[in-house]
Assembly symmetry: C2
Homo-oligomer: 136 residues x 2
C-alpha cells in the first residue's frame, strides 16, 4: 500500500489545510481521472465554500510535490489522478472517453533505449494510445 495523500504532504512539508485535506480525500476516493471542474464539483459537495481558485492552486501544488499526475489527453481539458508507486500509461476509448490504465515493461525499456541512443537520459515520458473497441 502507498502512503495516503495526507501522509505524503507531511513528508514533503506541505501545510495541511482543511481545504487540501478535502481535495486529497476526494482524489483518493476517485477511481477515474477528473478534470478541475469535476474535482471542484465533488469537493463542493463536502465544503461548498471552497473556491475553484483553491482547487487550481492545490492540484498544481500536489502535482509539483509528486502527489498527483496531470494528463492532457487529446482535445480535452487537463485531468488529474493520484500518483502511486506503480507507473502506468493510458489507453483512451475515443468513442466513450473511457480510460484504461496499462503497464508494459518492454515499451518502458525501449523508450529508455531510444533516449540513450540520442545521448539523453530519460526523465519523463508520455504514452497515450487511442483506440476503438473491436466488435469481437
Amino acid at each position: 500500500m502507498t502512503d495516503s495523500i495526507e501522509k505524503k504532504c507531511e513528508l514533503k512539508g506541505v501545510k495541511l489545510t482543511e481545504q487540501r485535506k478535502i481535495i486529497a480525500q476526494v482524489m483518493s476516493e476517485s477511481n477515474d481521472h477528473p478534470n478541475v471542474d469535476e474535482l471542484y464539483n465533488r469537493v463542493s459537495k463536502v465544503d461548498s465554500k471552497i473556491s475553484i481558485a483553491t482547487v487550481y492552486r492545490t492540484v498544481k501544488l500536489f502535482e509539483e510535490s509528486g502527489i498527483l499526475a496531470k494528463h492532457e489527453f487529446k482535445g480535452d481539458k487537463a485531468r488529474y489522478e493520484e500518483l502511486n508507486e506503480g507507473h502506468h500509461d493510458h489507453l483512451i476509448d475515443i468513442k466513450s472517453g473511457e480510460i484504461i490504465e496499462f503497464v508494459d515493461e518492454e515499451i518502458e525499456n525501449l523508450q529508455k533505449k531510444v533516449a540513450e541512443k540520442y545521448g539523453y537520459e530519460l526523465v519523463d515520458h508520455k504514452l497515450e494510445l487511442y483506440g476503438v473497441k473491436k466488435k469481437s
Copy 2:
C-alpha cells in the same frame, strides 16, 4: 517525396485561398515545430494583413484534413508540423526545448499489441520522451 501541401488541399477539396497558400508555404519551409504565434509571425512577414484568426482557422482545417499534426507538449502551447507519410514520435530536451524526431518500429508494434490485448483497435497514439542531455 510527398505531395506538397497545396496538392493535398486539392485532393481533399480544400479551397486554396491566398492566405492558405502562404500558411502552407511557411509550414513547408519550417523544419521546426512552430506554435501559432510563431507561425503567425512568419506568415505576417509574407503578408502582414493576414489575421491570427485565419491562422488559427487554417491550422485547425489542415489538421482535420490530415495535412498538419498538432502536438501539445508538456506545459507548452500547441505546436504544428507538416504531416508526411513517415510517422515519427518526439524526444524533447527539457532544458533547451529542442525536439528530436525518432521512429521505433518495435515500440509501434508493442503499442498495437497492448491495444489488442484490451480488445481495442489502435487508431492513434502519442509518445513523447522527455530527457536531459548526458554529459558524455
